[in-house]
């Protein structure tokens, strides 16, 4: 799926390269701290709860629900003429009992995206450029 929203060149770092490698293959992989039983958001090498490294990468199911959202009528910069579009915080399902997924910033895309409301169930979408060199994690209403 490709929305019409802007895509940017991503410059992965050594800390977050596995996230982008997995996303290219349509998976959401995040660092997970087994000591804290917590995913780490945004992806990095050190758990901010116990301040230690040694994190493992785990795949999340790619589903979640909307924590909050806004329909932006008029964006700025490269997004100046992209509106109306939806910016949202999505609470990801973790796929692990009694572990919450992180709330992450994203867009809701798709023909019915403007129908979004808090609590809406969503599924992940890897939004790609035509040549697939640019891609990013967005969501569509489930």
């Amino acid at each position: 799926m490709t929305s019409q929203l802007p895509l940017a060149d991503i410059e992965p770092t050594i800390e977050n390269q596995p996230f982008w490698d997995a996303l290219r293959d349509n998976r959401i992989d995040l660092p997970y701290c087994q000591r804290c039983r917590s995913f780490v958001w945004y992806p990095r090498a050190i758990c901010p709860l116990c301040h230690q490294g040694g994190l493992t990468w785990r795949t999340l199911p790619g589903t979640g629900h909307v924590y909050s959202q806004t329909v932006v009528t008029k964006g700025t910069g490269r997004w100046k003429d992209a509106g109306p579009y939806v910016v949202a915080y999505v609470q990801l399902d973790s796929g692990i009992d009694s572990v919450d997924g992180p709330r992450i910033l994203t867009n809701i895309v798709g023909d019915n995206a403007l129908n979004v409301s808090i609590g809406s169930f969503v599924c992940s979408v890897v939004d790609r450029s035509d040549d697939a060199n640019r891609f990013i994690l967005r969501f569509a209403l489930a």
Partner: protein
């Protein structure tokens, strides 16, 4: 160590213009510095402490000290967005209490109207570790605050009409400020009929974009006693930060839940003691959430609190932003902050416009909210008195 009475604000100055053609940012810093020093009855040679934030050009305190021709023994460039300058007052009081300086100068300046420049200090975010996980979704500043507003409405039933009351109060005050960018009084309906920028926030829920600046001079008790000008004692200070918290962000509160109680405890006062409040107002929702977090009302009651003219001077329950605030008067460098302290000083000196001067104003609060409510932000709370 308590900072209660450790330092005094001796000088406060706000640049009179909201569009400043044919000027540079460094120049405006120096002009407002001269204004605040003159207000205090001091000169550049008296300055031994200098404070600036991300809006200062070049190497910050190094570049500006050179430009202005000062040689401070203490410098500080703490950067927390629009709350920076309120933190600077706290840090100036700390430095004065420690004997590191006696006359601290704080400046803010920017030219976003004339230059079309973006958010001051924004250039530093290019290599932030979160950049590729936040910056590619078109989340303009207003979109972040809109998500906070939407969540607040969802949890507590807050309405757009209640948010509009905040803009109405600011506009009622701004009509008396000859320098205010927007001087027309607006109604709740006019706010609601202005175009949506990022729902639920309208154009009139947003602050103005202005050139300008301001400066403060914070001095030791000894220096304050030597000056003719009415110096305003610092009674309480508090800083707090909040961030995404490992994917657990809560959009309905700010770090004012930390900065507020610290400031009130240091001052030995409670919210109900405050006669006048300057509340950072980048957007109407910024005010509403801060009022709750600071304890002027319970969490979730902000919408009801601001109705019926509660924020309108001189006789509302909590007169706020009597200069017209960032919503109507001035938001220099896309951040303001220092203007919050300046108007609090005017109120405590009985020098606000007579139409909005709070009678017998003895205790004032100035509160800053910097960064972005939707990601990471810094709150700073300052409590000032007419006298110690």
């Amino acid at each position: 160590m308590s900072l209660r009475g450790a330092a005094y604000i001796a000088g406060a100055y706000e640049h009179p213009l909201r569009t400043i053609p044919n000027s540079t940012v460094a120049q405006v810093h120096a002009e407002v510095a001269a204004g605040a020093l003159a207000d205090a009855g001091l000169g550049f040679d008296d300055v031994d402490g200098y404070f600036c934030a991300g809006d200062a050009p070049g190497f910050g305190p190094l570049s500006m000290a050179e430009y202005m021709g000062i040689s401070p023994t203490h410098v500080d460039s703490t950067e927390t967005g629009g709350s920076s300058y309120i933190i600077h007052v706290q840090h100036a009081a700390e430095a004065i209490a420690a004997g590191h300086c006696k006359v601290a100068l704080i400046t803010l300046a920017g030219l976003p109207r004339s230059s079309g420049a973006g958010i001051a200090g924004a250039g530093r975010f290019g290599n932030s570790p979160e950049v590729h996980f936040e910056n590619h979704f078109g989340m303009s500043i207003v979109a972040g605050y809109a998500m906070a507003a939407r969540r607040h409405m969802h949890e507590f039933g807050t309405t757009s009409a209640q948010l509009a009351e905040i803009k109405v109060a600011a506009s009622v005050h701004a009509q008396h400020n000859a320098n205010a960018f927007l001087r027309n009084v607006v109604s709740v309906d006019e706010v609601l009929e202005s175009r949506i920028v990022a729902d639920p926030l309208h154009m009139l829920d947003c602050c103005v974009v202005t050139d300008g600046g301001g400066a403060l001079v914070v001095v030791s008790p000894d220096v304050a006693r030597s000056l003719k000008r009415h110096c305003i004692p610092v009674l309480g200070t508090g800083t707090g930060i909040k961030h995404v918290d490992n994917g657990r962000i809560d959009l309905t509160h700010t770090a004012a839940v930390h900065s507020g109680p610290r400031a009130f405890a240091e001052a030995g006062v409670t919210p109900s003691d405050i006669d006048y409040a300057s509340i950072y107002d980048s957007f109407t929702i910024t005010v509403l959430i801060a009022l709750e977090d600071l304890g002027f009302c319970a969490k979730g009651d902000g919408g009801r609190f601001v109705m019926d003219g509660a924020l309108q001077a001189p006789f509302g329950a909590l007169p706020f932003n009597t200069d017209g605030g960032g919503l109507c008067n001035n938001h220099p460098s896309n951040r303001g902050g220092i203007t919050k302290v300046i108007e609090a000083v005017r109120q405590l000196r009985n020098e606000a416009h007579p139409a909005v001067q709070v009678p017998d104003c003895e205790l004032a609060l100035a509160h800053g909210t910097g960064g972005n409510l939707a990601t990471r932000m810094g709150s700073a709370t300052l409590i000032l008195g007419r006298n110690l």
